[in-house]
Symmetry: C2
C-alpha cells in the first residue's frame, strides 16, 4: 500500500491497489468486482478475481496494518470557509482507528471546481490512501466521478451519484428529536422558525419536526414553518410575527442556533420568561452561540466527530475490498440546556 509507511522490513501483504494495478483497473472497480457489486463487466470481474488470487490478496490488510502501528493518510477536501464542520469531521476521521494511527490532510476548495481539481491532484500526488469530501451544506453535491484511484467518501453533503458512498447527518431525525424533547417537557403550542428553504437542512429538519408533531397528535402553531434566512435578524423578525399571531405559544423550535439567538433576544425584550412560558431550542450546538445565551440554549448536535469517524472507516473498508454505496444517515444528539429545562 503505497500510502502506508513501512514499519519494519517484512515483505508487505498484497493490497487492493496491487490487485487493481495487476488487473489494469481502478481501485474502486477492483473493490466493486471483488464485492460482487453492480456495474462491473463480467470480463473485468474475472480479471480482478484472477489478479487477487495470483498475488494472494486477502482483504482487510489495511486495517491490520493500522492495528500493527502503521499510519494511513486521508485527504479531506472541504468547502467550509469557517471550519465549523470540517475540523470536527477531520478530528473524528483521525481518531477512527485510535490516536496517531492516521493523518488527515485538509484542503479547502472554497466551492470552486478549479481549486477542487487542483487540490485533488496535489493530494493524489502525495499518495493519500483515500479522500473524504465535505460539502459546504447538506445539499447533494456533484460527484468527483468513480474513476479516482483511491476510495472517496462524501461527508456532510451526499454525492448526487448513488454509486458513491456518502455519510450525512440525519436532519429529519434531528427535527423529530427536537420536537420529542419539547413535547416531553410539556409543551403543546410549538412554532417553527427556520432558515433558507432552498437548503436541504431547513426542509429536512422541518419534515422531521412536523412528523413528530403529528405523531404526538399536535398541530404546528402559527399555521406554517416560517422559512427565511440563517440570521439572528430573521430570528428576531419571525419571532415577533409568531408571537403576534399565536397568543398561547409555549415553544419555538429554531432552524439554527443563530436564529435561536435572535428569538431569545425578542422574548427577553418582550418580557417573556424562557423556558417557563416559552421554551426555545436550536440546531447545530455551536458552543460559541449556545453557552453564552440567556438562558444557555438547548440544541441538536450534528455529531460531526462520529460522522468523520464513519467516513474514515468507509474509506478503509473500501481499501480492504468492502466498499459501500449509497447514502448512510447518521443520528444526531440532543443537548439540553436552560432554554428548555428549568434549572438545567
Amino acid at each position: 500500500m503505497s500510502g502506508i509507511e513501512s514499519a519494519n522490513a517484512r515483505p508487505r501483504a498484497a493490497t487492493l491497489r496491487d490487485v487493481a494495478t495487476l488487473a489494469g483497473v481502478s481501485v474502486a472497480t477492483a473493490s466493486k468486482a471483488l464485492n460482487g457489486r453492480a456495474n462491473v463487466h463480467p470480463d473485468t470481474r474475472r480479471r480482478v478475481t484472477e489478479a487477487a488470487e495470483r498475488i494472494s490478496f486477502t482483504p482487510n490488510t489495511l486495517a491490520q496494518a493500522i492495528l500493527a502501528g502503521q499510519t494511513g493518510t486521508v485527504g479531506l477536501l472541504t468547502n467550509d470557509l469557517e471550519g465549523r464542520f470540517s475540523l470536527p469531521i477531520l478530528m473524528g476521521a483521525e481518531d477512527a482507528f485510535g490516536a496517531g494511527k492516521m493523518s488527515v490532510f485538509l484542503c479547502d476548495a472554497r466551492d470552486d471546481a478549479i481549486r477542487e481539481q487542483h487540490h485533488i491532484r496535489a493530494l493524489l500526488g502525495r499518495r493519500v490512501d483515500g479522500l473524504i469530501v465535505v460539502g459546504s451544506n447538506t445539499d447533494p453535491r456533484a460527484t468527483l466521478g468513480l474513476d479516482l484511484p483511491v476510495p472517496t467518501v462524501y461527508a456532510y453533503a451526499p454525492s448526487t451519484d448513488e454509486q458513491d458512498c456518502s455519510v450525512v447527518p440525519d436532519n429529519v431525525h434531528a427535527g423529530t428529536l427536537a420536537i420529542e424533547h419539547l413535547v416531553a417537557t410539556g409543551k403543546r403550542r410549538i412554532g417553527h422558525i427556520s432558515g433558507d428553504v432552498r437548503y436541504a437542512a431547513a426542509r429536512d429538519r422541518a419534515t422531521g419536526a412536523l412528523a413528530a408533531l403529528e405523531a404526538a397528535g399536535l398541530e404546528l402553531a402559527g399555521d406554517r414553518v416560517r422559512f427565511g434566512d440563517w440570521t439572528e435578524a430573521w430570528g428576531r423578525a419571525a419571532t415577533h410575527s409568531l408571537l403576534d399571531q399565536v397568543s398561547d405559544l409555549d415553544a419555538i423550535l429554531c432552524g439554527s442556533d443563530l436564529i435561536a439567538r435572535g428569538t431569545l433576544d425578542v422574548l427577553r425584550d418582550r418580557g417573556i420568561d424562557v423556558p417557563a412560558r416559552v421554551s426555545v431550542m436550536g440546531f447545530d450546538n455551536w458552543e460559541i452561540l449556545t453557552s453564552g445565551a440567556r438562558p444557555p440554549l438547548t440544541s441538536i448536535d450534528m455529531n460531526f466527530e462520529t460522522l468523520g469517524r464513519r467516513a474514515a472507516q468507509r474509506v478503509f473498508d473500501a481499501l480492504d475490498g468492502k466498499s459501500t454505496v449509497g447514502v448512510e444517515l447518521m443520528p444526531c444528539r440532543l443537548v439540553v440546556r436552560g432554554s428548555t429545562a428549568q434549572g438545567a
Copy 2:
C-alpha cells in the same frame, strides 16, 4: 525541488535542497550558510558554498517555478479546534502566489505534542516544501527546533526561539487603532473590558489601548482594565460594574467580539443608547458575532489572510536561500459598523 511537480521535461534548476543534500546539511542550515547568518560553523559555511557553486545554484528558483505554473505544497500544522484563524490563514497562504499555484495541507494537532510529531512526520513523508505552524492563541509556543529538513514559519503565535521566523498579528497596534477610532468619533470617557490576563492578546491589546489614551491626553475610565474571561457572561458582569462606577462613561472597548456581545446586551437591558450615549467595539471581527448584533459591532480585524500570505512568502523565501529570523508583526484593520458610528 522534490515537492514541485515537474511541468515539462526540461532539466530542472538546482535548488537549495540539492545544495543541502550535497553539503550534507539541513535545508535550514544551507539557507543560513548562504545568507551569512549566525550559528553556522565556518567549515559548514564553506561546504555549503562549495556545493552551491558546484551545481550552479541560483536562489529564487522556487519563486520562478511557481511563476512558471508549477505547484508548491506547504503543510499547515494548527492547534485551532474551531478553524477560526487557521482556515483564513490557510487561504491566504494558498493565494500568496496567485490561485492554484500552491496547495496547503492542514493537520490539526489539538495542542498535543505527540499528535504534532505524528503530523510533522506524515507531512514530511509526503514531501511538503515547508511548514507553517499556527498556534491556538497569540502566546509564544515551543519551537519545533531548527533541524527540520524544510523551512518552518510560525504564524499567529510566535516561536519561543528567536532564530525561528514568526509572523504574528500586532495586537498592540490593534489596541491603539481601536482607541484612536473611539477618540476620533468624539468619545472621551472610555473603559476597557478584556479577557483572561494570562493571554498575550489581552495584555497586548490593553497596552496599545492605554498608550493611545495617553497620547490623546485621556485617562482610562473605571481606573483599571477589567480582565476576566473570553465570554459573553464576563462581558455582561463587567459592563454592569463599569456602568455603576462611571456615570459619564461614553465608550467601552471590549477585548473580543464575544465579550462585546455581552456588553451590548447589558446596555440594551439598561436602556442605554448605542452608539449615541455609549459606543462599543470588539476585536477579531468574527462575522457570526458582529453582523447580527444590535447594532452591528465595530471590530478590529486581525487580517488572517494577509498573515497567511506573508507566512507562505517567508517559507518560499527561505527555500530560495533568503531566510528571515525573528518575529514580524503584521498590522490589523478597523471595520466600522453601527455600534460606534450612527448610520453605519
